[in-house]
Symmetry: C2
Subunit: 598 residues, 2 copies
């Protein structure tokens, strides 16, 4: 029972939302699945000030159990559900001294915005189960109209996690003219069948609660608290990873904690779950839970790549997608589906999978916010795109840069912290994309304003279309790859040409050591070809040890044309020394320009 468990319901018990504001939308709202709602009211909170240029507004979208109270307004205020991400000063990724933040309660909710608990003006009684089926599209339409009423046009960003991510993605596709950045965290193009199955069970638990009374329980002495608590308990399990569950629940496995209330007594095993269920019942409306979870279930950007491409094609903004390794409700694989489609559409997109045992809940937790926060801050900061400091280049980088003509589009596989890409951007290239697996390097590259996606090259390049880039660069990466043939085929499919740079493992220093000493060769005095030579046989991260001749043989055997070859003794010079005499013996690094065309 640690404080780190900060799902929104944990931090919102007792106390009204003192800063809640309301705006009534004019006219009647037609709904996507039929029906309409008159006189919709939207509850919202704001932080910071809209600047004169009116270009610093950030819309934050909440998850199923959240509300408009994304952060404290001041020291006396109740905690917000993203207190560690949103606040005044540059220690917050979403700095409310810089951005004007608005967070609305969703349509169908129960914390300010029109929902099932609202009195239907046409009947004079609460909607209850007569509240119409709504969609994520309807939620976004409500937000759009509310922003219109408030005079907010362009959004610097729409940001959300889980259901909030569904809203952010919908904004990006429905209102491409209004959204500059879409930040979608722990989300998906649609629920898995498993997640949908849990929702079905949860709604059934609510709707078959005898106190549900067909949804018209508001004036009854009893509420469907049991059903809602069961739904909430089930939800809690799905928000946590197995590891996180063990850490949290094992202590009271065989000796439940003290049970404080009659409600908890009813659920006497798993006191913590019951406690969560009860707290939720006190602040949430069962009909809202049914309404919102059904909207999530209906959300569907597409099951296939083709469908996703079709849905996402209308977007124009830049994207940041973040997933969490142990999230089994909204899996990293689902985030990758979105990212792959965006990459194929040439959208600006950065993607990072944060390694954590916290499960889906990670998007709300302080440790993980510490990890993805810098990515959010970088994506929001338009100035980075032009003002980032230049990177320090190595000899190899300089030679590769020389081979790239102005204006060419470039995909850099194993881009590291983005040295080559940031120099290309400085030189005016506008279609640039990096691929990297190391989280710390992704963050550095992103903080240079670059687009980098977190991607294991051993799985090929399914994200990208044929000849999507003029050039694919793969520098000091080949030797770490398991599936060399597949990846090389893939680079040649995705790039019109490929610039392949690699260390020569038949360099004379290595050869001599091997022949004279009969030992697995290494050399640590050559820094420019990376540290490829500097490892012991038993701990090198390299998997492949080709010579220049090996790679050139391989290209010929595969029908690949070598258009240009530069052989270098990188030594410790800035630019390296070009080798023409027996490069397979004398060069430590080769740079080949290759393609399928002759």
């Amino acid at each position: 029972m640690t404080d780190s468990f900060s799902s929104s319901d944990d931090i919102r018990s007792g106390g009204e939302l003192a800063h809640l504001q309301l705006v009534e939308l004019p006219g009647v709202m037609a709904l996507e699945r039929g029906g309409e709602l008159p006189g919709v009211v939207v509850g919202y909170e704001t932080y910071g000030e809209l600047n004169e240029a009116r270009d610093n507004a950030v819309l934050i979208c909440h998850a199923i159990s959240g509300d408009s109270h994304v952060a404290r307004h001041d020291g006396d205020d109740l905690p917000g559900w993203w207190d560690e991400l949103v606040g005044p000063g540059d220690k917050f990724a979403i700095d409310t001294e810089r951005y004007f933040v608005i967070c609305t309660n969703v349509l169908g909710g129960c914390s300010g915005t029109t929902g099932p608990r609202t009195v239907n003006p046409q009947t004079g009684r609460r909607y209850g189960a007569e509240f119409p089926v709504i969609t994520i599209g309807d939620m976004v339409e409500t937000q759009r109209r509310a922003l219109d009423e408030l005079g907010i046009g362009k959004l610097r960003a729409v940001v959300g996690g889980s259901l909030g991510g569904h809203q952010a993605l919908t904004w990006a596709t429905r209102h491409p003219d209004r959204v500059e950045n879409c930040i979608a965290i722990a989300t998906s193009p649609r629920l898995t069948s498993q997640a949908l199955g849990f929702d079905v069970v949860a709604r059934n638990a609510i709707q078959t609660d005898p106190h549900f009374a067909g949804g018209q329980y508001y004036d009854e002495p009893e509420q469907p608290a049991t059903g809602l608590a069961i739904a909430r308990m089930l939800g809690h399990i799905t928000y946590l990873s197995t590891e996180a569950m063990d850490a949290k629940f094992d202590p009271d496995r065989h000796s439940p904690r003290d049970i404080a209330t009659a409600f908890e007594k009813k659920f006497s095993v798993g006191a913590y779950l019951a406690h969560q269920g009860q707290k939720f019942v006190e602040r949430f409306d069962a009909n809202s839970y049914v309404t919102i979870s059904l909207a999530m279930d209906l959300f569907d950007l597409g099951r296939t790549r083709r469908e996703l491409l079709s849905t996402l094609r209308s977007s124009r903004c830049r994207f940041l997608v973040v997933s969490f390794s142990s999230d089994w409700l909204f899996t990293p694989a689902q985030s990758r589906e979105i990212v792959n489609a965006l990459a194929a559409l040439d959208r600006s997109v950065t993607y990072c999978e944060i390694t954590t045992t916290a499960g889906h809940d990670a998007f709300l937790l302080v440790d993980e916010i510490g990890q993805f926060g810098p990515l959010v801050a970088a994506r929001l900061d338009a100035a980075l795109e032009t003002n980032a400091a230049p990177a320090e280049l190595r000899a190899n980088d300089r030679r590769i840069l020389d081979l790239i003509e102005p204006g060419k589009s470039v995909l850099d596989l194993g881009c590291g912290s983005g040295r080559v890409l940031s120099e290309l951007r400085r030189r005016g290239h506008d279609k640039l994309m990096g691929v990297e697996v190391a989280q710390e390097k992704i963050i550095i590259a992103a903080s240079r304003g670059l687009d980098v996606i977190d991607y294991d090259l051993n799985h090929g390049l399914p994200a990208f279309d044929d000849h999507q880039f003029d050039l694919v660069v793969m520098s000091a990466t080949l030797q770490a790859i398991e599936h060399v043939e597949t990846l090389l085929d893939e680079t040649l499919r995705v790039g019109r040409q490929v610039i392949l740079s690699f260390p020569n493992f038949a360099h004379q220093e290595l050869r001599e050591m091997f022949v004279r000493e009969g030992r697995s060769p290494k050399a640590s005095n050559r820094s420019s070809c990376g540290s490829s030579y500097g490892y012991e046989w038993y701990n090198t991260p390299n998997r492949r040890f080709p010579s220049i001749a090996d790679v050139e043989d391989f290209c010929r055997a595969k029908g690949v044309t070598i258009h240009r070859a530069i052989y270098l003794d990188t030594g410790d010079t800035e630019y390296g020394r070009e080798i023409t005499d027996d490069p397979n013996l004398n060069a430590d690094t080769a740079i080949l320009v290759i393609s399928r065309e002759s």
Copy 2:
């Protein structure tokens, strides 16, 4: 909605169990958690005949929703829940022409054995919720007494999946004198907190159903069908993997199937789940579900390795443990905990993780039965231990065998199909264990009657105690290991001595090729050192390419003593030719005997 979805409830709707037999236990049964049950009746079915030696009885234990009907008795019979595993003839792993199979309904169940629906002889009314809390130990005690009544002493094996596995493990520890083999499939030492959480939610759904009536619903017009259906639907989700859920549910995601009954209409989304829920309600008792799931939750062989060692120490039998890669309810990691403890206790144990997308349900499915069935058949077949055909040995194997003194205990890391181990067994060694990752090799080794565990050597050897074996053999395995230092430390910890055999990557053929041609060397004419030399630089499965000098340097640097070194030119001879002149140049294979002691 394929037929391959064969959880037991799918195949038992309508129709009585025609072959159910009943036995009444004499006296009163005292229960582990207090209380007692008088006049317990056990429902069971049998297949085949008990032989004269009375040594062919196999007890099969069912899972939460199963019953005694493990297989058809004849062509007219209803399908059984393990029809593909149990039947007459050697195409069945549990051949009822060879073994006498008995399957009992569990205590607390509702298909023949005393449970909550039984009339309490002391009150004259059904137990209902007054049925006492029972444990897996009580279930096993009921089985033991029933077998006593039926005159069955020794069990050739106790076999079970899921809850059935809990019973099998309990038999092994409680009645070591009666069990020769324990076959525990898709099971665990205890439930994860996640699994326990789902059970809490499921029981709450049942117990808060208004028709539950405190458990005394039997004479009421309405039953707690809704609660039980919710519990069952939730269970179904946990039995399937995400992939299996998508395959099964995606077709009716947005257009539910035709809804046939009023019950299904109530659960109008997820028609399939609802259908499963309804079928279950028709044949299962809600109180039994509560009783049995609580017994599962209470099952606990130990959370820590120390606790597991303590619990499993009383066992004497041979074990087969099988897990499924996509089972997230009873995870492979949990099976490994059991296996690791058994291995540390020097118990005979074979373990295999079957690769499948079917989830926990895999233990009931025909495809996966096809995979683990041969392991079950091998473990049951006592004759294999002495009668298996001898393996074909390579030069390297023969040299290693020469180094092993009679009677020594041996752990073979990367044992393949068990060539060396089966020869050692033929020579009378009795403490032998193999480690292998390739499923097809594990099956061959097991069919030779050997103990093999499925284990990734990159994670060290946490299963084993210090100096647990006289010798650890690692042959033609070193070059495929990522974490060489850790693994070598581990082998030296677990074995008093280590026999390390590896290909010499500085052999003159390779050296010359590298120096003359400057190409990554390979040679395909040397079969005896494995195929280590025969790969291309871009597709070799080898990760490490040490020379003899490298490995010997490494040993010296790590303070490891080389007691003996044999250098071979294995060529294509049966025994290889020993090399004394510059082995680092002339030998293709080295065999080192090493230890931490000088």
